[in-house]
Symmetry: C2
């Protein structure tokens, strides 16, 4: 129906965004609140529900809310839970879907944030019409959502697609997960900062990065320095691209996607990251796959993107039940 809306919610460690998304991907009532993740999840949902209802009053009165889609760290699609999320002080496992059902007698789905980004790309972005693709979200860490045969992979555990934790070097950088050398310790906003620091320490080359404190050395600053021709910043991007290209080649050897999309803050580096990553991907790709996979930037705008992705969870479920969500 023309006035059907899905509530999309993106839960993060510090902020939670929500909005009402129609089947074209247009977001109404976009709102951001503080997650206050130190308080219990019950209190969070009660507070969020009040904000949602306040916002909902301002929407056109003829709308019909048909479902709620949620993207969150460490979310389990099968169980409807968030489990052991490092940035949310909600314990071993909290049944978020059940908490929402106390307020809404509607379909509620949850999946991890990168999975929601993949569904968003499929329903509203560059992956429309694709059956096999991967979305890599490059933020503080590295997340991924893998779509095969038109469905987001959840796997046996409900947590499939954690490419941030494939191993680059078993003796490598310490990762927040307790392992060493995970991909996200190299390829992420934080990883790129670590790479720049190490290159500054190893090499004697003059670099504008030497005048920055650790806390100032954001991926954005490194990006700006690289654009200005700074040799250390350029090498930082090249090394990042090489590791990413190599691991994307491995990912292709698993599910053979038609395209890989880069999303999230660091992907805004654009060609500076995309072009060398394409080159290294091609170098490391098993010959059978050459020419079968494209590396692209996400077509979902950051900002409302996470909310669109979360809402797309519900739209995609409607589509797979026989109703075509795109008509």
């Amino acid at each position: 129906m023309q006035n059907d809306l899905v509530l999309g919610i993106d839960i993060g460690g510090t902020k939670t965004s929500f909005g009402f998304v129609n089947r074209k991907g247009v977001v109404q009532g976009g709102t951001v609140i503080s997650t206050e993740a130190d308080n219990p999840a019950e209190a969070f949902v009660i507070r969020l529900h009040q904000h949602i209802e306040n916002t909902r009053k301002k929407l056109s009165p003829g709308h019909r809310l048909i479902g709620i889609g949620i993207g969150a760290p460490n979310a389990n699609y099968y169980r409807g839970t968030i489990e052991k999320a490092v940035n949310l002080n909600w314990g071993e496992s909290v049944d978020l879907v059940a908490l929402f059902r106390r307020h809404y007698n509607l379909p509620v789905s949850i999946t991890n944030d990168a999975g929601a980004a993949a569904i968003g790309e499929m329903i509203f972005g560059g992956a429309r019409g694709m059956k096999h693709f991967i979305v890599i979200t490059l933020g503080t860490g590295l997340g991924s959502g893998i779509v095969a045969n038109g469905s987001l992979l959840h796997g046996a555990s409900g947590f499939a697609g954690e490419l941030g934790h494939v191993v680059v070097d078993p003796e490598g950088r310490q990762c927040g997960c307790g392992k060493r050398g995970c991909l996200e310790t190299y390829v992420s906003a934080n990883g790129i900062r670590r790479t720049a620091m190490i290159l500054l320490a190893r090499q004697n080359i003059v670099s504008g990065l030497r005048s920055l404190k650790y806390s100032q050395m954001t991926s954005k600053r490194i990006y700006e320095m690289a654009l200005a021709g700074d040799a250390i910043a350029l090498e930082t991007f090249d090394r990042t691209a090489r590791i990413l290209g190599s691991k994307l080649a491995d990912a292709v050897a698993h599910t053979s996607p038609e395209a890989i999309f880069l999303a999230g803050g660091l992907s805004q580096a654009g060609d500076l990251l995309l072009e060398p990553t394409r080159r290294y991907l091609d170098t490391f790709l098993f010959r059978t796959y050459r020419g079968t996979v494209k590396l692209l930037l996400s077509e979902i705008k950051t900002g409302n993107g996470a909310v669109m992705g979360a809402a797309a969870l519900i739209w995609s479920e409607l589509a797979s039940c026989g109703e075509n969500a795109m008509t």
Copy 2:
């Protein structure tokens, strides 16, 4: 029907096996012929057809042949082709399904040999009832078939699941594919021989392997030496298990299977390979997946296993079309 049979064909570089497989997985008329892969594929299919018909005459007269399943190197499920297979001198691409259709007006399906092994495990072996699992075939090389949501992944290219060519070390051992450091150059019958050779060269430890020529140093001999307590042979298995465990942990981070099955000749090393691989897999596994994945030996016997797997392709297609192949 009780008398329905599927013709299963396993095409290899030197030998081709076929047999008639009922829905319980019982193989009748198992036959092995020489592939003669230097001759054109047309001649191969004509010759194979004659052997098939000769064998078929000996089957019970009441049988009904309902389809043909083929496992072959570099087979493309979507196109019905074998493409650029190194051990088959059949050029860029040969439409094997079309060649079989000249002789049989029946459903004909082809997939790569490790994919067929995965389908065989699902229909007749240890993966019965599983929706998400991986089969790793350890022969001269390393093959893999990945099942997600109950379906073998083919991906966009039709060649998904080439874990033999994920990269262990970009500066590592030369691989037949043209790259360096591919997993199968370390973990395979041939890879384990290379590891033993390198350890013999690097270390001064006394070892029975020093009395063997390169051509005698098969994985079977290394296995026997390891059982007898040979230090180099034992370290060879340990290093092989460490690399395999690490890459299986990465595979779990992609599709999160319930189980990974080891199949093929080298898997007959049993606990000598399985036990340390389990340990390393657990070490490298991202914490979210701990306790969610089992490492098991294939329950499909080698010998007729490849023929059963090829036939299972057709049985699984019948099952997914609504008819339950197991009843």
